[in-house]
Subunit: 139 residues, 2 copies
DNA sequence: ACAACTTTTGCAACAAAGTTGCATTCTTGA
DNA sequence: TCAAGAATGCAACTTTGTTGCAAAAGTTGT
């Protein structure tokens, strides 16, 4: 296995293509969550918009990345931890932080989502918690 | 004050127009959160798409409605509780539930968002918590 | 290293969602 | 009732997301 992106792709049973490697490298290099647009403009090589949509969907399905909800209708994505990749089911249990200053969205892996008790009759599947505010580097 | 929607508009210092009343009535009548599209198709009268965008933005600014993040890039909106309207700053502290069966998004006003401690250096402003699963009426 | 097979990609053509400027219409308060 | 200001509808446009299909690239076994 030559490098990390190749390794992740092979472990997920995906064929290794320039586009997938490139996009994955971008995720690995970047410290924050990426939106479709970030990827389109941030990739070393240029890839078709459609390819990026399809790649992101594939990565989601395989548990390589997870999506982060937001109120600006821009979905951002970040690398999952190992367990998601291996099980094909998302197990990210951390909160996300969106900085109102620098607009970066971060995974706060060290802050886990607290347990909430739903009213009777509700069945919980996934939880998402997004905090907005000012990040460490913007203070 | 003739009815509730008029009252809310006046209290927020907004002029009372057919569109605003209609949209607000829809929110009041509906038990769940509404997306732009729901409003466009659900209003008694037909209003221009642009008017609906602008109205939603105005309602957000005035603290009449709040937006609910989701990972499907469709933002949904729901009525705020009184405190938002009066202060112009959102104070909704409840979690949101999105049913994977009926696709309805609900405000669970009775379930408040638990407190989380952020790492040093982070300043919190707003918290959003969205739970997905199966709702009471879909079991 | 090659061929056969499978998968991925790019392109084109759409559809849906969101934005902006401007003229017209509606609200409001004097 | 009327003037001033605010909201609306329309047109034109940008951005975002989807689908089908042919060409290109990746994979597997020899
Ligand atoms: Mn994350
Ligand atoms: Mn709510
Ligand atoms: Zn920041
Ligand atoms: Zn349901």
């Amino acid at each position: 296995m030559i490098n990390k992106s190749t390794e992740i792709l092979k472990n997920s049973g995906l064929s290794v293509t320039a586009g997938r490697k490139s996009i994955l490298d971008l995720f690995i290099a970047s410290g924050n969550a990426l939106a479709h647009q970030d990827i389109e403009s941030g990739c070393s090589e240029q890839f078709d918009r459609v390819t990026i949509y399809r790649t992101l969907q594939t990565f989601l399905d395989k548990g390589i990345i997870h999506s982060i909800p937001a109120t600006d209708s821009i979905i951002r994505y970040a690398l999952c931890n190992e367990t998601c990749t291996t099980t094909g089911h998302h197990h990210d249990n951390h909160i996300h932080f969106r900085c109102e200053q620098c607009s970066k969205t971060l995974c706060l892996d060290e802050v886990s989502i607290p347990i909430v008790k739903l009213p009777d009759g509700y069945m919980m599947h996934e939880i998402n918690m997004v905090v907005t505010g000012i990040c460490k580097s913007c203070r």
